[in-house]
């Protein structure tokens, strides 16, 4: 039997190997691929689409604690982040800050608002 102490390390090793395999295969498969080739441009498009799909999924169908914030709040925060980003001539820090602040404030108002309502009804 495997020592209980070693179990997390075994899982971490599996995680490290499966993560590195994708990167390793990437170097291997890139071979003599040229930047000016149609294949390179197609692969770039596929990669951009894949990452956009991942990001959209992280916002709309998050796993973990973010799932506890309502979808409306997440979408509102993402929209405000995009709006502030474009309105400030693409200032990344301001865009990210706007998204963060919106989500924190909206979820806070939601919870404290319902607390207030509950208190008023008492």
């Amino acid at each position: 039997m495997i020592d209980q102490e070693m179990l997390p390390y075994l899982a971490l090793l599996v995680g490290a190997l499966t993560t590195y395999v994708s990167r390793f295969l990437g170097v291997l498969l890139a071979g003599r691929l040229k930047v000016e080739s149609p294949l390179f441009e197609w692969l770039s498009c596929v990669t951009y689409a894949l990452l956009a799909a991942l990001i959209a999924r992280m916002i709309i169908f998050p796993s973990g604690p973010l799932a506890e914030a309502p979808l409306f709040d997440r979408l509102a925060a993402a929209t405000l982040a995009l709006a502030s980003f474009y309105l400030t001539r693409r200032n990344l820090l301001l865009g990210v800050a706007a998204g963060f602040a919106t989500l924190v404030l909206v979820t806070w108002v939601r919870v404290s608002g319902s607390d207030l309502l509950a208190a008023l009804q008492l």
Partner: protein, 239 residues
């Protein structure tokens, strides 16, 4: 050129240029995200060292989160392996599309097998945007400089996150987890100069969540292939 090749990485101006690009907004956002990962480690009853080892050896946040969450519920190793591999499969095409930029400078293969360990969305997006205008021989040191800054600050943040877990209010920790997708979204929103890639981003953002409802496990790969191919074709037809 011969003198240049013999120069150490730390004396290369491109290396320090990369370090400069890493420090700033990317560092703030990534570190904040890894604070969340450190907190997750503690909440999953794992030890500090497990979080540190994870960030050092398997640096790619979505896969790390999947690993910890599955481990915490006692999933078998084979399930963990498949889930982490699927979650991080995006790294394969990301690596393939970054390599040709290094090949233009004739960077030795063994160096690329090491450098690929640091390929992750933040550095990749920055590299894809800057490499075309950068002298080929400066790309490798730039990438290493930027990645080392980001990677080491993530390791540090994992540790800090472990210790501050439970100290910040719930709403703030929600906001911290939200930083990562929002930041990625804005990074790509600022990279829309190429028609094909811009269309691929837009279509992918729609296809990803839509397919997730139907085929959760394979949605990312299918969305990437279909939306990417469509975007590519649109870019070729209407450049």
């Amino acid at each position: 050129m011969a003198a240049r090749q013999g120069r150490s990485l730390f004396r290369d101006e491109h290396f320090w240029h990369g370090v400069q690009r890493g420090v700033g907004v990317p560092l703030i956002v990534l570190s904040a995200s890894f604070l969340g990962f450190g907190a997750l480690i503690r909440e999953s009853n794992l030890q500090l060292i497990h979080g540190i080892v994870s960030t050092m050896t398997g640096w790619a946040l979505p896969g790390q989160v999947a690993l910890v969450e599955l481990y915490a519920v006692g999933a078998p190793l084979a399930v963990i392996a498949l889930a982490v591999w699927l979650t991080n499969a995006r790294l394969l095409p990301m690596t393939v599309t970054l390599m040709p930029y290094f090949n233009e400078a004739g960077t030795p293969r063994w160096k690329l097998y090491i450098a690929c360990h640091w390929i992750a969305v933040t550095g990749w997006a920055e590299a894809m945007r800057r490499f075309p205008a950068m002298p080929p021989e400066g790309r490798y040191p730039f990438f290493i400089g930027m990645s080392l800054v980001l990677w080491s600050s993530c390791i540090l943040a994992t540790g800090i996150g472990y210790y501050i877990a439970g100290l910040v209010p719930f709403h703030v920790s929600l906001g911290l987890v939200f930083l990562n997708p929002i930041y990625f979204m804005l990074v790509f929103a600022s990279d829309l100069a190429n028609r094909g890639r811009a269309m691929a981003l837009l279509l992918g953002a729609v296809a990803g969540p839509a397919l997730h409802v139907v085929v959760p496990d394979w949605s990312l790969l299918i969305a990437g292939l279909t939306a990417g191919t469509l975007g590519y074709l649109i870019g070729r037809r209407w450049p």
